[in-house]
């Protein structure tokens, strides 16, 4: 079974600074990869996804992620964060052969301060 490791449980960052959230997954076979954001008291919202093709994926709100198959990583980045980016971020993986079955990481809490 797939597993997902988010290496940082909390990332403090100043407004307008860059941020990188790290995600590693267990399998070296084909996978689908996702990043979700969860604002307080809300459900998860898809930021971006990698299914195939270009390894650099651009998502909403200025986020992007890079798929690295050799390192089994899918790190999320944003060059300049806003206060409104304060939220919990989840990395998830799905096996294309059992689509719809997601394995989520434990989450990374991003706290943006002025």
């Amino acid at each position: 079974a797939q597993s997902v490791t988010q290496l940082d449980s909390q990332v403090p960052v100043f407004e307008e600074a860059p941020v990188e959230l790290r995600c590693n997954y267990s399998s070296s076979v084909s996978v689908y990869l996702f990043w979700y954001v969860q604002y307080p008291n809300q459900g998860l919202q898809l930021l971006l996804k990698y299914l195939s093709g270009s390894t650099l994926v651009k998502g909403i709100n200025g986020f992007e992620a890079e798929f690295n198959k050799s390192q089994t990583s899918f790190h999320l980045r944003k060059p300049s964060v806003h206060i409104s980016d304060t939220a919990e971020y989840f990395c998830a993986v799905s096996d294309p052969d059992s689509w719809g079955k997601f394995q989520f990481g434990a989450g990374t809490q991003v706290v943006v301060t002025p």
Partner: protein, 116 residues
């Protein structure tokens, strides 16, 4: 377009009491998911429905949890009796699944359950 609707948003009960959560998926979405999210953790799948059929319930604790999806639309998740360890957020999600290809899951806001 309305998103995934869940009710109640919050529920506080005493242990050994029953509790039920309701989910209304996005109109037309044939796949429905129930997830459990413990504090500080990512969601874990409890059950997945394709229309009215539960196609993956391997993670559902069947001794106390049950779920149904009436007519392939709304769904109810029940716990009876509730235990202290059931305190968590219960998330519902839906997607339109066609031909085995990937389709985005849309999540509801969740029901936060507190068992005292």
């Amino acid at each position: 377009e309305a998103g995934v609707v869940q009710s109640p948003r919050y529920k506080i009960i005493e242990k050994k009491q029953p509790v039920a959560f309701w989910c209304n998926p996005i109109s037309g979405h044939n796949t429905l998911y129930w997830y459990l999210q413990n504090l500080g953790q990512g969601p874990e799948l409890l059950i997945r429905y394709e229309n009215e059929e539960a196609v993956d319930d391997s993670q559902l604790p069947k001794d106390r949890f049950s779920a149904e999806r009436l007519k392939g639309v709304d769904s109810t998740l029940k716990i009876q009796p509730a235990e202290l360890g059931d305190s968590a957020v219960y998330l519902c999600a839906s997607s339109l699944s066609q031909g085995g290809s990937y389709n985005e899951q849309f999540f509801g806001p969740g029901t936060r359950l507190t068992v005292l």
